[in-house]
Structure formats: C-alpha cells, structure tokens
C-alpha cells in the first residue's frame, strides 16, 4: 500500500508504535489506552480539544514524562527511561512555547542546542536550519528583540538541527500570521519529502487536512484514526446538493423515482440535499430527472465535508469535551 504522498508504510519500520499507552497524574487521567502507529515519513496529525491530552502524549513519547502503563517504540527504540537520551538524540520536539533564550542571539541559541546534540562543527548546520526557516538575516539579532512569529521560527530551526527521524511539532503555527504559517506549512511539506516523520499537534483543522496523511482525534481516549477523506466517508453519508431556479412542484416525485437516491431533504427554498451512494454516477440521473420534470437546474455538486465537520461531529457527541 502506498500512502497519500508516496510513502509506503510497509517498506520501512514504523516511526512510532504506541500500544495501549496511559498517563495518569494521581487520580487524574491525562490520556488513556491510546494505541496507534505512525509510518516512517508520514505526517500524522494529532487533534483534540483543549485538555484532551495531546501535549502530554507528545511529552510522553518525547521521554519527558513516564507513561503510567502501556508501551511505545519511538524512532525504533523502545520507550524506557534508560533509552531516554538515545531517543531524544533521534527526535526533536518543538513545544508550543518555543522557549528561546532572549539574551542570546539566534545563532547563539542554535549553537547551544547543536552542542547539546553533540555536533562539533555546527556552523553549516545552523546556516542550513536558518535558511530553512527564512531567518538568515536575523541570525545575529538577540532573540528578545524578535516578534513571537520569529521566535517560533527559531524554535523550528532548533528542531531541525539534529536531522531528526521523528519531529514532534506542538502547535507550530500558533501565533503566526498567514504568510508565516504558510512558510511553516511549506517547511513541513519539505520535511515529508525528505522522509522525516512529523507528528503534528494542531488546533487548525484546515492545516491538518492540508498537511497530514492521517489524523487521530484524541479526547483523553483516542476516538478516531485515519485519513481525512476516510474519516469523512465514515462519519458522513455522501450527498449531492441540487439547486434549482424555482422551488420544485413535486420534489418527492422527482427524487424518489431517481435511481441511486437514498433520501433527500430540502436545504432552503430551492435547494435540496440528496443522500446518494456514489455522487459521480448518480449526478447525471438526477440532472435528467430534473430536466424531465421541467426544472431549471442552477447547479448540482457533491457536498464536501471538511475535517472540521468530522471533528465537530465527534466532539459534539462528547459531553465531557463540551464542558472544557
């Protein structure tokens, strides 16, 4: 099987294997019984409402905190406290708050982290990382003088320094303007093309839909894992939206007698939503039936449900999430 972006998940070992992982803080459960696998080179979106346990999951997989139960393999290394430094050498995590040293310059910040990754001749790597985030001109500026968006880019450059096998990005476009956010998106696409596995935590559903091969929706427990289009198909019946110039005289007669239309409902004065098995096959039948009934057809189109619809559908079903 080949993934949406040319990734063959079966060709290389998974970058992440999470198996019934649970984290509790005393009586409080951060996340529970979470299992999923992320293929090498995949961009995996991790979605969920505030307090769903997304950041705690990232911190657990990044060996910052220990799971209460369950197991995981990160970048091919079993998740244990002993393996912590080795795992951290092969991954990078960009927290939501980039956490840069304001009294140091951009380059000095990166020199520190290059040193922590054991890189002796770090100059070329730092130059490359700064180029990747379009920050070369600001290299000698103190981080304290940078805007939030630019500091976020410093955080991203830092995450690129060790050529990670798995990169965890926690809300990487939070606080960025649309242009800067687009640059981050392009960077993530570039990472995917280089075979880097990206674990992307985000609240921006259009971002997840655009960038991610698969997404998981977490709300303490994992609710859904799959490709965005698969999720849409699974949660929503496929439908056609029909618009006519004037309201139909007998819409029941038109739609109920048309082959492939399972049900219909009005959606405004002269608009109708039809549940169908296969919109592409049924659309011509519907068009013919409408013309035969003397209707002036304005448009017939397939109804598209966004990932946001999927997300809201799941979260609205969850009373706990709505209380957060």
């Amino acid at each position: 099987m080949t993934g949406a972006h040319g990734v063959d998940p079966s060709a290389t070992p998974p970058a992440l294997i999470v198996d019934h992982l649970t984290k509790q803080f005393g009586q409080r459960t951060a996340f529970q019984d979470v299992s999923f696998t992320v293929a090498s080179g995949e961009v995996f979106g991790f979605l969920g409402p505030n307090g769903a346990g997304k950041t705690t999951t990232v911190r657990t997989l990044g060996t910052l905190i220990a799971p209460t139960s369950g197991s995981a393999t990160v970048a091919g290394i079993p998740l244990t406290s002993v393996n912590g430094p080795e795992i951290r050498q092969r991954i990078s995590i960009m927290p939501e708050n980039p956490g840069v040293y304001n009294r140091l310059t951009v380059i000095e910040n990166l020199e520190l982290f290059a040193g922590l990754y054991g890189q002796r001749n770090s100059g070329p790597r730092i130059t490359k990382a700064l180029e990747a985030v379009n920050l070369t001109a600001r290299g000698r500026d103190l981080c304290g003088s940078l805007s939030k968006g630019l500091r976020q880019r410093v955080g991203l450059a830092r995450a690129l320094l060790n050529d990670p096998a798995v990169m965890f990005l926690d809300e990487p476009t939070s606080g960025l303007d649309p242009v800067a956010a687009r640059e981050v998106h392009d960077l993530i696409i570039g990472l995917r093309e280089r075979g880097v596995t990206v674990f992307l935590t985000t609240h921006r559903l259009e971002e997840a839909e655009r960038l991610c091969d698969r997404v998981a929706i977490l709300n303490t427990t994992l609710r859904l894992v799959g490709r965005p289009d698969e999720l849409r198909e699974q949660l929503f019946s496929r439908s056609l939206v029909v618009e006519t110039l004037a309201p139909l005289v007998a819409p029941d007669d038109v739609f109920n007698s048309t082959e492939g239309v399972e049900s219909w409902r009005p959606d405004g004065a002269s608009s109708y939503v039809l549940s169908v098995v296969d919109p592409r096959t049924i659309a011509p039948h519907v068009t013919r039936a409408l013309v035969a009934a003397g209707a002036d057809v304005v448009s017939i189109s397939e109804s598209r449900h966004s990932l946001e619809d999927v997300y809201l559908q799941l979260i609205n079903d969850d009373p706990e999430a709505s209380q957060r």
Partner: protein, 273 residues
C-alpha cells in the same frame, strides 16, 4: 549514552554568555565584592604598630571570614535561580527535549557560577595581600595574612564553599515554584558552612595546614554528596508538569497498522490540565 563534556561545555558557554548580557548579574557580582573589599582594608589600615597581638589576630580572622563570605554568598542567589529561572522563562522544556543528562545540566550550570565566584574571591584576596604589604603599618598583620595555613584555607575553601552554596541553591531551585523564594532560601542556606570558617578565623581552632586540609576534605565530601542529592531531586516530570513521576506498570495489547480507520469506543477519563 554516557556523560558528555561537549554537552557540559555547551551549557557552560550558554551560562557565561547570559551573564555577560545581564547587567543585573554583572552589577551584583561587581558591587558586592567591593563591599567585601572595603571593610577589611579599613580594618587593616586602622591597626597601628602598638595594637596588642590578640586584637590583630581577631582583625585578621575577621578579614579572612569576610573574604570567604563572597564565594559563599555570591553564587547562592544565582544558583537558586538556575532551574526555576529556566522554568519561568519557558526554556527548561526545550533543554530537556535534547539528549542532555541532568548531571550535565546541573554541573554545567554549577561551573557557570563557580568560575566567576571563585575568580572574584581570589582577586579580592590578592588585592588585600598586596594592599597590606604596601600600606599596612602593623608588621604582625602582614605576617598573619601571609601565613601558609591561612592562604591554603582561602585557596581551598573559596571553591568548596561556593560549591556548597551552588548545590544548595540548585537543590532549592529544582523544587521551588517561585524565583524569589528560591533566591531567599538559597542565600540563607549558604550560611551554615561559614560557621566552620568562623571558628578557624577567630582561632577557636588553631589554624594549621592539617586543619585546613581536613576541613577542606570534609567540605569536599559534603559537596559531592550534596550534588548527588540535587541530581536525584532533579525530576524531569515534576519540573515540566508539576506532578511527581510515577512508576510505569506493564501494559499490553494490539497495535493497529497505519492506513486503517478505527473508531474507538469511549471508555471515559478525566480532564487533562
């Protein structure tokens, strides 16, 4: 992954760069030693040639004590900021996402404080010695200041007292949630070892090379033990989440392959902060 001097050096360089760019730290490091320098100089210069030997002894003892207060007090404030300060400015989590070991982080930070603190202490001692030889009117003062045990005590105790203060300060810093509390506690906790120095300085114990070496060894052992305790106190999970780490219990189960959609039934759970 073993202890790395490269990572230790990276932390140390960062610390020194931050000091250089922080006017407050530089001002503190510069002004306090001046206070510690002025008072002993005045004392020494006021001792005339006819002052009794016992008074001279006490004055010189007080001078040594004051000189050792600098390496004990100066680092305490900075060390107690070390971890809680990183937490407060949001830089601790990025640091902990690297392969950096806690010992490397703590030792790097400790060296970043000990180097300037001990440097300042030695400079103060050198200035006192030079000024005494050039300007002191009492020959006994010069002789006492130049005594081998006193000089040895100064050389040995300055880094060891600084080490104690730094370890205590960092220990407090790993547990504190507020920078101000950490710095106040750090300052207070640097005082006890000075009591030992005071006993020697005021001749409660007669200063000798053996005594200086024994006290230095005791302080060295105490510093090492304290550093190990501070390392053990450094709990990543607690520092990041505020909650204490829990032991992992074994879990098992299946792993779903990529590329499949799974709708997972709700099993409950409570809020995550």
């Amino acid at each position: 992954m073993k202890f790395s001097f490269g990572r230790l050096g990276a932390v140390l360089r960062k610390e020194l760069r931050e000091y250089r760019r922080s006017p407050f730290i530089i001002a503190t490091m510069a002004v306090l030693p001046l206070v510690f320098l002025v008072e002993p100089l005045i004392t020494i210069f006021r001792i005339g040639p006819s002052i009794p030997a016992s008074t001279v002894d006490k004055a010189v003892g007080a001078t040594f004590l004051i000189l050792l207060i600098a390496p004990a007090l100066l680092p305490a404030v900075i060390a107690s900021y070390s971890v809680v300060g990183e937490r407060e400015q949001g830089t601790l989590e990025p640091l902990l996402t690297t392969p950096l070991r806690r010992e490397e982080l703590l030792l790097g930070k400790a060296l970043g404080v000990v180097v300037p603190a001990v440097g300042i202490a030695y400079v103060l001692f050198a200035v006192i010695q030079i000024c005494a030889r050039l300007f002191a009117s009492n020959a006994e003062v010069v002789a006492l200041l130049g005594q081998g045990p006193h000089i040895l005590a100064e050389i040995l105790f300055a880094p060891l007292l600084a080490g104690w203060s730094i370890c205590v300060g960092m220990g407090i810093s790993t547990r504190a949630t507020d920078v101000r509390v950490a710095q106040q506690l750090g300052t207070l906790s640097s005082i006890p070892p000075l009591a030992v120095v005071a006993l020697v300085s005021f001749n409660v114990f007669t200063p000798s090379v053996t005594l200086a070496v024994v006290f230095a060894l005791v302080l060295l052992v105490a510093d090492v033990i304290l550093f190990r305790i501070v390392s053990a106190l450094f709990d990543r999970e607690r520092l990041i989440t505020g909650a204490r780490a829990q032991r992992q219990s074994r879990g098992d189960g299946h792993v779903a392959p990529p590329g499949t959609v799974r709708r997972i039934p709700r099993t409950g759970g409570t809020k995550d902060g």
